[in-house]
Symmetry: D2
Subunit: 295 residues, 4 copies
Amino acid sequence: MRTTPPLHTGHFVLTIRCADAVGIVAGVASALASAGAFIIESSHFGDPDTGLFFMRTEFRPTEARFRTAEDFQIVLKPVAQRFDMQLALHPAQSPMKVVLAVSRHGHCLNHLLNRWHSGELPVDVVGVVSNHDDMRRMVDWYGIPYHHLPMGTDKAAQEAAFLQVVEAAGAELVVLARYMQVLSDAMCEALSGRCINIHHSFLPSFKGARPYHQAHARGVKLVGATAHYVTRDLDEGPIIEQDSVRVGHGMDANALVRIGKDVENVVLARAVHWHAERRVLLNGLRTVVFRQGGA
Amino acid sequence: MRTTPPLHTGHFVLTIRCADAVGIVAGVASALASAGAFIIESSHFGDPDTGLFFMRTEFRPTEARFRTAEDFQIVLKPVAQRFDMQLALHPAQSPMKVVLAVSRHGHCLNHLLNRWHSGELPVDVVGVVSNHDDMRRMVDWYGIPYHHLPMGTDKAAQEAAFLQVVEAAGAELVVLARYMQVLSDAMCEALSGRCINIHHSFLPSFKGARPYHQAHARGVKLVGATAHYVTRDLDEGPIIEQDSVRVGHGMDANALVRIGKDVENVVLARAVHWHAERRVLLNGLRTVVFRQGGA
Amino acid sequence: MRTTPPLHTGHFVLTIRCADAVGIVAGVASALASAGAFIIESSHFGDPDTGLFFMRTEFRPTEARFRTAEDFQIVLKPVAQRFDMQLALHPAQSPMKVVLAVSRHGHCLNHLLNRWHSGELPVDVVGVVSNHDDMRRMVDWYGIPYHHLPMGTDKAAQEAAFLQVVEAAGAELVVLARYMQVLSDAMCEALSGRCINIHHSFLPSFKGARPYHQAHARGVKLVGATAHYVTRDLDEGPIIEQDSVRVGHGMDANALVRIGKDVENVVLARAVHWHAERRVLLNGLRTVVFRQGGA
Amino acid sequence: MRTTPPLHTGHFVLTIRCADAVGIVAGVASALASAGAFIIESSHFGDPDTGLFFMRTEFRPTEARFRTAEDFQIVLKPVAQRFDMQLALHPAQSPMKVVLAVSRHGHCLNHLLNRWHSGELPVDVVGVVSNHDDMRRMVDWYGIPYHHLPMGTDKAAQEAAFLQVVEAAGAELVVLARYMQVLSDAMCEALSGRCINIHHSFLPSFKGARPYHQAHARGVKLVGATAHYVTRDLDEGPIIEQDSVRVGHGMDANALVRIGKDVENVVLARAVHWHAERRVLLNGLRTVVFRQGGA
């Protein structure tokens, strides 16, 4: 029923982070070429501030001797050691497993599920967690397990159950799709670098609660949304994507809430898409986002 | 289950079109004031090119003697006659009845239904028509009648059945939410001024079939979407709303299709929202859109 | 040499602020109609939060008996008194006199002067004030008096000289076009409601010094600019206009500075344009901006 | 007086185009690494439609033995021959020489000159050509030669004089900054791939004359601008950059003209900037634009 996602059978995605130096690209590209890898897309970035080098390369094998991730791992090992690289190699055809979390506002959940269902989001949604039961019927329709984990008196227990769902499902990524709970420090640590939140403001403006009401009170002429990695510092995590939309004096806070939802939907879906394609690399408190060419 | 839309009990929406002249606003506003109408929002536009005057006023009664549409119709009659106005008065609390039409791409349908279901689109979706059966399960979930009207050899018969659904449901508006059929001239006439289509390009660029493929071939750096009233001239009807999004050389036509969907969703939902709030007035081949203040 | 601005001979702009009530529009429109005023453009806004009503009406006389501002003042007096209005009536054909202030970054100054010189900004630039001498040659070219008022040890004396320039030139508006000085409280008071600043960030993000460097450090994906009225609270004044532009990980703070200038230029010019056409009304800490129809 | 542009002393920009194959990046990167080149920024694109591969690499030397363009040309020669590359290597510190052409609308000219003068546009403006004398005073201010080449009866002679200016000044690029003349086929050929035009519409909409008036008549809700390479097919050349801005029913064609200028300025300056940094590569009727990272 669900459309097959547009994954590229046999493609691999290689991501690298290391100290910048002469010869990195040459080393990696030569290793890949020696194994017959045809490069589909490749992006680099050397950050002059931090001296770090980032690279993402998507390639497909062309020779029978080199077909598996292991084959290429072996080929890349010398250059990885030489430059002391953090190197990851993933087959592109296995979509990233994702758990979504939601509270009572279902627009982002609906948008992600519709995108996923039509085969346009390169992920595999393996479960939905919620502290409420409101979204169960929607999730059931998609045939996805719904985990109602109410927020009782024992927050630690609820988070443990949440994490248990993530681990049991083998999820690589957790998406807080308007999950209106602040995660504990321990939970943030456990999901470090693999938990994306959508905040309904143009950060760093209007952190915390009711950002549209704050925005209305301040009289801004644009409202926005921000997708970022969750860290212990509330709404301070590395930003993946942002966008904004024009508002006017004739709109009350409720109108901002309504209009902002379109931006939230799009910003969060982009961030999930890019993360799932391993286009987002952490660079301290910032991110490197290797978007698809030229946009 | 469905959230009640944010309709304003007791509000009325008055729309006027007539030849421009001194005294129109004074006449209308005085009539309303004499009946205790408190103006919530009011917009005017005099087109110097055509000499036409357009007005939309939203008000609520404050006096017990004037409460119904009929009461205000009577009060407005003299000024309407004096200026030979096309005048319409609608209670704002009764949402506009709408029939949606779709073929196989369900994103706009999903977006409209989700918005409607969460009480944010001031319409009442009374049916969905499709020439395919693909979207039935989605529509069933929302508890809306699904009318599968396949496009066989007899186009006239199919359109007659379509119109029959519209009339039987008492729908004021038909929305072609990626309904991939060209309506006959007769059908266009029957739905004149009350049928909105979403075209997946920034009109007048890329009329007709496969606009994203046309856009890719031309190498544009933005793609867009256009919501317009359907007329006999294909993709030439009065434009209600447009928007665009940046694309790049690294995106093939399929990527444009995927990215463009977000713009289609938003542009169509805005157009439907504004039409349903009677903010869109026809001005020849163009539209006057009285958007909410200042955005 | 300079192109005549597109001012509308004989037009008047009426702005009104008062407590909202039944009958205001009727009263104003009837008074105008009784004097033969043909309404070109009219906008209203009633703020449900504050209970205030705002109105801007542009009209032209059609009867020989009513031609001057005084004629219409007399006609409007009864309704103004009845609703205790703050009412202002200005002939549209006399452009607003403006003094610009700049320090060393000349892009906004250049943009405003070029716009003014080509007759597109409905103002009369009567002088430029600067705490540096860098921009003198550019200002000389336009034939505008340049007042070099260096910021020595006596800030109060410098500000007194600045105010003296404003008053002597009969300027109604002061525009801080990248004037890198914080005005004293006294100066803010003296220019209250008639001094527009451009801040090179998307307020309330990144107040104060070096906002692009702050933005780069935070890793935002959009940078913006904000035009606002100057008040005693630095970068907290009522916002008139904002806009933003996309940036990426490969841009250092200097690239943000460069890219942001385009947004600063456009945002400031819009704010000045709207203020000069008396489209901006203060609503506490926020503004009502009656933009030209429908955009 | 003029600020030095932000050119990177000692940097080189390498651009490559060839048929895509395994080993290209490895070959180029290895050659560069063998000569101690430190890669600042590198972008690739393989077009699956055309089978072409594009690459732009910015690097700086780190070894005394390899310092000049010739040194690197020698190093790159084997790989260039092996893959039959179109390869170009330019020192980044010598700004590209540019001739601007203008008729009577000076906004784009003013914007480019101001950007250039403040050291933000990495070009060297070596002359301005115009078929009118209107802009002489502005150009004189900047100390640039102004060539008034009126369009008399002999178009071929005028174009010959235009080309003579370009060649005599050693200009690599010609920018039509609102030059309201259609170039002859011969002129287009002579400037093939090195002549950028700004068209004041969102192409392919509204080709030819008076695009804003066409846009107003069609009732579009956004207007745009397009920077493209000039070819024999009017307004059909490869697009480098586009952008758009919202308009509304209350704006006449003149308002569109005014509002559109901001978009024209920004779009043209971006295209010139990218071309001058050799970020734009021709791919048939389309362009590859290697923008600065991630925006």
